[in-house]
């Protein structure tokens, strides 16, 4: 290890810490939200469908030219149950329920994002300061 290495790693640690503080603050803001939450599913950057996060268990299939994914809504959260992508990272992410949280299945170009009242055009930015 040389001096430059320590500088480099130090800068990376600082940058990561900065981003993480922003992330945690957003997380706290999301904690105070008690309205209805929705999961917006997009495939290849285009809206696919919006799912209400209900307490009762519900499953949603996403079958597109990019692949197959199966989402499960349960107890107000959503998670990726099955995916035919090679790495299964989206399944590893587990359940998400807070505003702003995402599940991404990069190979299948699927993105799931939790938003507030979807009918009002998703006021996420106002909440997640």
């Amino acid at each position: 290890m040389k001096r430059g290495d320590f500088w480099l790693i130090g800068i990376i640690v600082l940058a990561a810490a900065y981003f993480m503080v922003a992330y945690i603050r957003q997380d706290h803001a999301a904690d105070r939200y008690d309205g209805k939450a929705y999961a917006v599913v997009t495939v290849d950057g285009k809206p696919f469908r919006t799912i209400e996060l209900t307490e009762s268990a519900e499953r949603y299939e996403i079958q597109t030219e990019f692949g197959y994914n199966l989402l499960e809504v349960k107890d107000g959260g959503i998670r990726m149950l099955e995916a035919d992508c090679p790495d299964d990272i989206c399944i590893e992410i587990g359940e998400v329920r807070k505003l702003g949280e995402t599940i991404v299945c990069l190979p299948n170009r699927v993105m799931v994002e939790i938003v507030g009242d979807a009918e009002e055009g998703g006021e996420t930015d106002a909440v997640a300061t």
């Binding site: 290890m1 480099l8 990561a16 950057g45 992508c85 090679p86 990272i89 990069l106 994002e113």
Partner: protein, 183 residues
Amino acid sequence: MRSQHNEADAALRRSVVIAMFAAAAVVLGLIEAAIPFQAAVPGAKLGLGNIMVLACLHFLRGRDAISLIVLKTVITSLLLGTFSSFLFSIAGGLLSFAVMYALLRLGRDRFSLIGVSVAGGIAHNIGQLTAATFVLGTSKIFYYLPFLMVAGIATGIFVGFAAKTLIRALGRLPLFESLENPR
């Protein structure tokens, strides 16, 4: 005549080394996919293939390392991935190359292979996320970056150390001894 012969000989040596390194990188990628590396961060990878890229940058030229990265990414994607994953990997691979090449150019006395490897690993993540931003049409996925960065420091140190060991061992072989030219 003689210099022409030597040039052809050097080009052949380079091709042989690139092919061997690419094969090794693909096998490392397969091993990495096979071992259950349960990271705390979803999406974090060991990045064992970068060992071969670092060795290539040490023994050969920058453009040879690009050939290696393209070969490695195409073959690994054919074996394990999809077209989409190829797109993201190649974006990550090329950005990672650019950063590592620049750091090595800045000076080998300033950065060791460990620093270069850490920066290269994180640049790989940034390249992938940037490509994903264009494809998915949202920069929201950059939320994952800080966690990938922390994981990248640990895996980068490991990969850099492995590359150092490999380069020392290979340097003793006649084929590589002839390639090793301190720039």
